[in-house]
């Protein structure tokens, strides 16, 4: 990925920045309103037919809905080709019934969740039959099979009654997931689980029905091969042969979607205008950007933003073909509280104060790429206002250009009389490719103002997380390229994995600061059990504020996703996923 710096304009005042932030928010709001107008739900209808080409860098992670988790999996497969219990209409930030017929009904103090299902949703060939509650039960049970390797089931479904007996091999099924009749699913939990009662975690791809009699043979053995024989319930499917073996996917090259002959329009909110969709992997970002903008029938796939030079070109010459969607994620600099001197809260506050967050935003392409963050829960997620909104109550997070004098005051409070760090050098591990590399280098130079000597190692992104920053025993002091996004519109998924002490694990650790505050842990455990959305927003917002008060990370941007389309494509953005929704997109 190429990256060029956009120089900061000299002499910008706080008022100008506020004005610019206001304008950015206004433009996002207008874009969202425009998306609302054109979206399939209540918007103008698209033209039926045609082929759409989606250009991407990488490929989907898996064809198996039990494994899918990431943004591109949703865009290419989960949204257009499967019917999860609940889904995300393009213009809404709350779950809508998809395979479910209505929102969940709660009883037993929120511990019993009853979901009525639609009848008439059918599996694609070769299964062909109507999907039932038993198929969802099997889908959710197989999410716990090690050979399926689903990573979120223990986090969000772990409190369902009977999960332990099932995972320990003492029961053949999960007793807390019941299918009393083909159109009723009952989920019983050991305690109220907010992400289930609000249906948020029931939008995950692992709730898409899976026919047991067909899939079970593929789920045996060390690794499930169901993905290579997967069947679909959505408007589209990947071509397969008569036995069900997938033929329309060449890994890292091409994924093809065609119409599912068993899909019934009457049961679905998706218009599914397109006849065929081709997802082409392995594209150079710069070339793909230009191909989409100057070509026909193409949209961007998995790249959140084009390279800076091409981004500028797009804004100058093709502004109507560029769409911005709040990414519902943040980027931050993490400090490890188990490594000196970051065990001292005043040193951490000094680091937060000295960081010029505007300069860091510039390394990714400037303010259109996202507003400066002041805490963790991003705008549009419940709890954002409760956490402080766009303003911060903390002086060290209030000045986006950084404040060296304030930082030195905090250093003196921490016991460094000169206001500068004079200890041994610290290990910082960051990405070795732009734009993250540029961000890391900017952080290094900003920290040097406080006297920090850094042993800065630049490694590939996957190595940085899986071998260094996500491995506590490596004792990495600073990770400048950390990012985290939501799983759904509930702030538990933004805060709990990254700040709850129970989530500190020996590898793939997402609590990089190793924050383990008993009071905060207890507050998070309480918040997880709150069933009503307003109460959850208040609780998670307060926790966000408390975590920001400990300055264990320096959040610096709430990302926007940038999506591109060819002129003849009437593309619709899905607010939840931050990408185009191909099930609502059409050719003009």
């Amino acid at each position: 990925m190429r990256q060029g710096d956009i120089p900061r304009r000299p002499g910008r005042t706080t008022e100008r920045i506020r004005m610019r932030t206001f304008l950015v928010w206004m433009s996002i709001a207008l874009a969202a309103a425009a998306a609302l107008l054109v979206a399939g739900c209540g918007g103008t209808a698209g033209k039926k037919g045609g082929t759409l080409t989606v250009l991407s860098q990488g490929d989907v992670d898996s064809l198996d809905p039990g494994y899918q988790y990431y943004q591109y999996d949703y865009e290419a497969l989960s949204q257009p080709a499967q019917r999860t219990l609940y889904g995300w209409k393009p213009n809404l930030r709350k779950p809508s019934p998809d395979f479910a017929a209505s929102m969940p009904k709660l009883s037993n103090g929120g511990k019993t969740i009853t979901i009525k299902l639609k009848s008439g949703v059918r599996f694609s060939p070769p299964v062909n039959r109507v999907a039932t509650a038993a198929d969802v039960k099997y889908a959710m049970e197989r999410d716990f099979l090690p050979q399926v390797a689903n990573s979120y089931a223990p986090v969000y479904y772990g409190d369902i009654v009977g999960v332990k007996a099932f995972t320990d091999g003492k029961a053949k099924g999960i007793s807390g997931i019941q299918a009393p009749n083909p159109t009723t699913l009952v989920i019983k939990t050991t305690k109220p689980v907010g992400v289930l009662t609000t249906a948020n975690a029931l939008t995950l791809p692992g709730t898409a029905p899976v026919p047991k009699e067909y899939a079970q043979k593929f789920d045996k053995g060390k690794t499930s091969t169901y993905g290579q024989h997967v069947v679909f319930t959505g408007p589209y499917m990947i071509p397969n042969d008569r036995s069900g073996k997938i033929t329309g996917w060449t890994p890292s090259k091409r994924l093809e979607l065609v119409r599912n002959p068993n899909w019934d329009r009457k049961t679905d909110y998706r218009p599914a205008y397109l006849e065929r969709i081709a997802f082409l992997a392995g594209n150079d970002l710069s070339l793909a950007t230009r191909r989409i903008l100057s070509g026909n029938g193409q949209i961007s796939g998995d790249f959140a933003a084009p390279p800076v030079a091409d981004f500028k070109l797009a804004l100058e010459h093709y502004p109507s073909q560029v769409s911005f969607t709040p990414g519902d994620s943040y980027r931050s600099i993490t400090m490890n509280t188990t490594v000196k001197p970051f065990d001292n809260v005043n040193v951490r506050k000094a680091v937060a104060a000295v960081i010029d967050r505007n300069a860091l935003v510039a390394t990714r392409g400037g303010s259109r790429i996202g507003p400066v963050a002041t805490h963790y829960i991003p705008p549009f997620l419940p709890g954002f206002q409760e956490a402080g909104g766009s303003k911060s109550p903390y002086d060290y997070m209030s000045q986006p250009n950084g404040n060296l004098a304030l930082a030195k005051r905090y250093m003196r409070k921490a016991g460094y009389a000169s206001g500068r760090y004079n200890g041994p050098s610290l290990l910082m591990v960051g990405d070795d490719s732009a734009p993250a590399k540029n961000t890391g280098e900017a952080v290094q130079s900003q920290l040097q103002q406080l006297g920090f000597k850094l042993n800065y190692q630049q490694v590939p992104h996957e190595v940085a997380n899986s071998k260094f920053c996500g491995v506590p025993k490596q004792k990495v002091a600073i990770c400048p390229n950390w990012a985290w996004g939501k799983d759904f519109y509930d702030s538990q998924s933004m805060i709990d994995p990254t700040f709850n002490g129970k989530n500190i694990v020996p590898s793939n650790n997402s609590n990089l600061s190793e924050l383990n505050d008993p009071k905060l842990n207890a507050a998070m455990d309480r918040a997880e059990r709150i069933p009503d959305p307003a109460g959850r927003a208040k609780a998670w917002g307060a926790i966000d504020k408390a975590v920001t008060g400990l300055a264990v990370q320096v959040p610096w941007i709430w990302d926007n996703d940038v999506n591109l389309r060819s002129k003849n494509v009437k593309a619709v953005t899905n607010l939840f996923n931050g990408t185009w929704d191909v099930a609502f997109t059409s050719i003009k």
């Binding site: 898996s62 390797a149 060390k222 290579q228 082409l280 392995g282």
Partner: protein, 320 residues
């Protein structure tokens, strides 16, 4: 000759073992991403990571893993399964090999023909305007990296992103059996780009050798015998001067058959080079191992072919 070839083939097996062992050691010695963690996703518990580690065999010592790998390879020609998508490495490599072969052989024909023609003309007209122009062009060709030439070519001449719409753009590769015409047109620009640098090198190499050869006594004798100048230059001169060109061609074709990483990446040709690049990015050891072994196999094989060819090209070479 047969004994020589058999001996070389046996050495090839030894070398491939060495290459595979070194690749394994490098993967374990250098910091690379943990494949189990990458496969496990964003919030896995430790049991899931442990299960995936066990499933991929990563919980065993590296030499045990290597032994199992070699056993599967020798007994079943099985390269294992990709850590990334759990699909057979052999299947993925063989699916992509036709694209790499198409790219390499087409470009090789182009650069050998152009390189030899330019080199011969430059040598014959040494010091004249045509020589100076050709050698300046060759210098420019050598200095331009393939990825730069590729991007410039696409920005100017691709029919989607270019200023003048001449060639199909990036990602347009079509298989030979699917549509031969599209196959040919989609590869024209990649062939030209890949061949440009190589042709320039070959032209300079042949020119230097041919100048030396044309001053040899036997060339003077040939001319004195009244042979025509084209016959002197091509039959007697080029045949002797071509030996280092054949050596270079063997190596280059071998390397590129193992994957023309830059060209395949810029033009999004789904070949082995592109696969190697992706597997390195994803710390996908079985796939890295498969692509490295394929590359080594082609290099060693093409070296053997070149050595055998010497006997036919150069009358001074005989194998006992």
């Amino acid at each position: 000759m047969i004994r020589y070839i058999v001996r070389r083939l046996l050495w090839m097996v030894v070398l491939l073992f060495l290459v595979s062992a070194i690749t394994f050691l490098i993967f374990y010695a250098l910091p690379s991403a943990d494949p189990a963690v990458l496969r496990a996703g964003r919030q896995p518990n430790t049991q899931l990571i442990a299960h995936i580690r066990h499933q991929l065999g990563l919980d065993r010592p590296w030499y045990v893993q290597y032994w199992h790998y070699i056993k599967r390879l020798v007994l079943h020609f099985d390269f294992g399964y990709s850590y990334q998508n759990l699909i057979s490495v052999r299947r993925q490599i063989f699916e992509r090999l036709p694209a790499t072969i198409s790219l390499t052989l087409g470009a090789a024909v182009l650069w050998i023909v152009v390189g030899m023609a330019v080199g011969t003309i430059s040598a014959v007209y040494r010091g004249r305007l045509v020589d100076r122009v050709a050698m300046t062009g060759a210098l420019v060709g050598i200095s331009a990296p393939v990825y730069l030439l590729g991007l410039v070519g696409l920005y100017f001449f691709a029919n989607d992103t270019g200023k003048i719409h001449v060639f199909p753009g990036s990602g347009s590769y079509t298989g030979l059996t699917v549509n031969p015409v599209k196959w040919f047109t989609s590869l024209l620009l990649p062939w030209i780009v890949l061949a440009t640098t190589q042709a320039a090198i070959y032209a300079r190499l042949l020119r230097a050798n041919l100048i030396d050869t044309l001053s040899e006594d036997y060339i003077r004798t040939a001319r004195a015998k009244g042979l025509s100048e084209p016959r002197v230059v091509i039959v007697h001169g080029v045949r002797s001067a071509i030996t280092p060109v054949v050596t270079a061609a063997g190596l280059d074709v071998g390397i590129l058959l193992g994957g023309a990483i830059l060209t395949e990446t810029v033009f999004n040709i789904p070949g082995v080079g592109h696969l190697a690049y992706e597997s390195i990015k994803n710390s996908d050891l079985p796939m890295i191992q498969g692509t490295v072994l394929l590359g080594a196999f082609f290099i060693i094989l093409l070296n053997l072919v070149v050595d055998v060819l010497y006997a036919f090209i150069d009358p001074r070479v005989r194998y006992a």
